[in-house]
Amino acid sequence: MNAVINLQDDRSERRTAPEGLRPETGSMSMIQALNSAMDVMLEKDPNVVIFGEDVGYFGGVFRCTEGLQQKHGEDRVFDTPIAEGGIVATAIGMGVNGLRPVVEIQFADYIYPAFDQIASELARLRYRSAGQFWSPVTIRTPCGGGIRGGQTHSQTPEALFAHVCGLKTVMPSNPYDAKGLLISAIEDDDPVIFFEPKRLYNGPFDGDPDKPAVSWDNHEKGQVPVGHYRVALGKAETVRAGNDLTILAYGTMVHVALAAAAREGIDAEVIDVRTLAPLDIDTLCESVCRTGRCVIVHEATRHCGYGAELSAQVQEHCFWNLEAPIERVTGWDTPYPHAQEWAYFPGQARVAKALRRTLDA
């Protein structure tokens, strides 16, 4: 079901790993990969500091910062008051004064109190000061459903941030990318909103809640270099080459899409968008112009969701090549319910139906 992935594929990684020398890798869950990214960056750059609710002594409610305070000290990894707006504001000020803050918002559902600081300040500081001031803050936040979290532990509000110019918006779908993208995000001098699909923290998830959980151990993208490497921001990845149609997805939906295509026996090209802003439109359009058909999958609500932008751009660039309407498979336009979670989650059946419809059009 999973596409063949070449670890040596990423150009920025090649830069860090000397020619011919494969970096030492280990099997890591997404949590471990994220932890490792922060560990590496704390080690490498004394200006990196990490903070947020429960991230210090405890190591985060999802354990992403486990052990980092003990290893790097209390003034580099610490707990904050419960005030997402205050956390981001503090990070902005620190960034202006030379630090490189990485903050955690405990759930993406709780990022809204920080919206003003993110959209009005973090995103615009460089612009409004004509480059005099800027703050290289990275905001990590777990997102997405499928964990019985109900409406306030399941949201993926990526579209709200992708609409705000000045921000980079990222969502990895596997441990390898998670670590490489997080390192790139921390090193980037622009602010990055880094969404972590929590349903993928401990293993890939193809959308079928009845199957036993699997770990990242046996997944190629669970093999992660222990040291420093980058996955470039702003680059989509073709995780499966194919000819019948193109699926655009990110986060958990990459795995659902692969499974749905496999189940239907469709030779789909599956592209993991990875960076939502700025978007790697070339990779997407090259594919859709070739296959002539496109299905977009995301977990967030449909109306004004990120899929709308993907659809609009693909249509703008590939109109003359399109052989079927571009479809979107998304969360419904309702909050994420608790009991009806699996009726809400855009699972294999819904994706498969859309693939079929698109092929048959």
């Binding site: 429960d54 002594y57 409610v61 209390e74 008051p81 419960i82 005030a83 019985r148 336009d333 009806q340």
Partner: protein
């Protein structure tokens, strides 16, 4: 000399020996009780004290003693015990996989029970997830609580909310939000509307001490101060916010009750494990609010004996025996001892009550699971998911519901 970044921390971590002798505990009964309409600046010492009514011999003492009849105290004891037993049962059921999540209020039962008893039925409650005692005190059916936790066919909230996120308009218990603090400022608006509409109702709101750092805490204090809204603003200081000690919310600087001073809002700091003190403080604030005195900020000083929730493992961040060293004891036990000291209660009575309440919980639980559990169903229908997004369902949701039900014409 450069100053160093100060990072506050918890006083004790796993492996350390908790010693709370540093917590200055004033003697019960010593604090003067000003008139309810006292000017805020004339009682600005209150938040730096700790209001206690029950003394070391389990006697009620001092001017704050609400002098409640034994029958009322026994009601309080019953509600507290029921809350605790309900919590215990639900926790066990969550462990058995019957529900996705649970969250106890063990050690904090006096907060919700005494406070609820001290206000009127028409007063509107804006709780957090740790005030299940309010619903129990107001007589909300345990069956409905359980069905909500089970997200089953009997769930009055149609399976939409995580367990413990109760709501009851009839009981004037506001829908619990997963987003911390948001209800604190809303309560002020509700209270303003009560005045606008010339009713006598007041609003009562709660946040945890950790949540006091959120914007809504400041909004609530500002707006209630400016419009002198009839509202009681409670901060439940149970020492912990998940793994984060109250010191990280500023608790090592000044008591949370003192945050009111700058806004001209009187602050009361109360032994939250003392049923009588908690009742008396709330009563004072309610009377103040109802007679035009505006808001009061109450800090309930207590201890979160339970893990934060079933997703939490406190052994990772605090000594497992910390509660045993907690100097303010167990609210249920303390009220029980008071009733025993009054000769109104005995260990045997207590045992009997516990058994009776356990039976009640058990019986109702059986009824609840007969209506379904999260994993096995039956649940509320999938299509219910599309209701109540708007008052009337707009066409795009009708269409999405059709798609869900497979009745989409376009599907093959």
């Amino acid at each position: 000399m450069a100053s160093r970044l100060h990072i506050p921390t918890a006083p004790y971590r796993p492996g350390e020996q908790p010693d709370f002798s540093t917590i200055k505990l004033p003697k019960a009964g010593e604090l003067a009780r000003p008139d309810e309409l006292v000017a805020a600046n004339e009682c600005s010492e209150l938040p730096f004290n700790l209001l206690r009514v029950l003394d070391d011999n389990h006697q009620a003492t001092g001017p704050w003693d609400p002098q409640l009849p034994a029958a009322v105290l026994l009601d309080g004891l019953r509600y507290m015990l029921l809350t605790r037993l309900y919590d215990e049962r639900m926790l066990r059921m969550q462990r058995q996989g019957k529900m996705s999540f649970y969250l106890k209020c063990t050690g904090e039962e006096a907060v919700s029970v005494a406070q609820c008893m001290a206000v009127n039925d028409g007063d509107m409650l804006f709780p957090t997830y740790r005030q299940q005692g309010l619903l129990i005190t107001r007589g909300y059916p345990l069956l409905d609580m359980m069905c909500q936790c089970l997200s089953n066919a009997g769930d009055k909230l149609q399976g939409r909310q995580l367990p413990v996120m109760y709501s009851s308009d009839v009981h004037k218990f506001f829908s619990i939000s997963g987003n911390l603090g948001t209800q604190f400022s809303q309560a002020v608006g509700w209270a303003m509307a009560a005045e606008y509409r010339k009713t006598n109702d007041i609003a009562v709101a709660w946040v945890g001490e950790g949540t006091s750092a959120e914007a809504d805490f400041h909004y609530a204090l500002t707006f209630s101060s400016v419009y002198r809204a009839p509202v009681i603003l409670n901060v439940v200081n149970n020492q912990w916010a998940i793994s984060t000690h109250q010191n990280v919310a500023g608790g090592d600087q000044n008591p949370f009750a003192a945050r009111g001073i700058g806004y001209g809002i009187p602050g009361l700091r109360v032994d939250g494990n003392d049923f009588l003190a908690t009742y008396a403080a709330t009563r004072w604030a309610a009377q103040r609010a109802r007679t035009g005195g505006g808001p009061t900020l109450i800090e309930l000083y207590t201890y979160r004996a339970a893990p934060h929730s079933t997703s939490d493992d406190p052994a990772k961040y605090r000594p497992t025996d910390e509660w045993e060293h907690w100097p303010l004891g167990d609210p249920v036990e303390r009220l029980k001892q008071h009733l025993v000291a009054l000769d109104e209660w005995s260990e045997t009575d207590h045992e009997r009550m516990r058994e009776e309440l356990e039976d009640t919980v058990s019986t109702i639980w059986k009824e609840a699971v007969s209506l379904g559990t999260l994993n096995e169903g039956p649940h509320p229908p999938d299509a219910a998911m599309f209701e109540h997004v708007y008052k009337e369902m707009p066409s795009h949701l009708v269409e999405q519901r059709r798609q869900l039900e497979g009745r989409d014409e376009r599907s093959n």
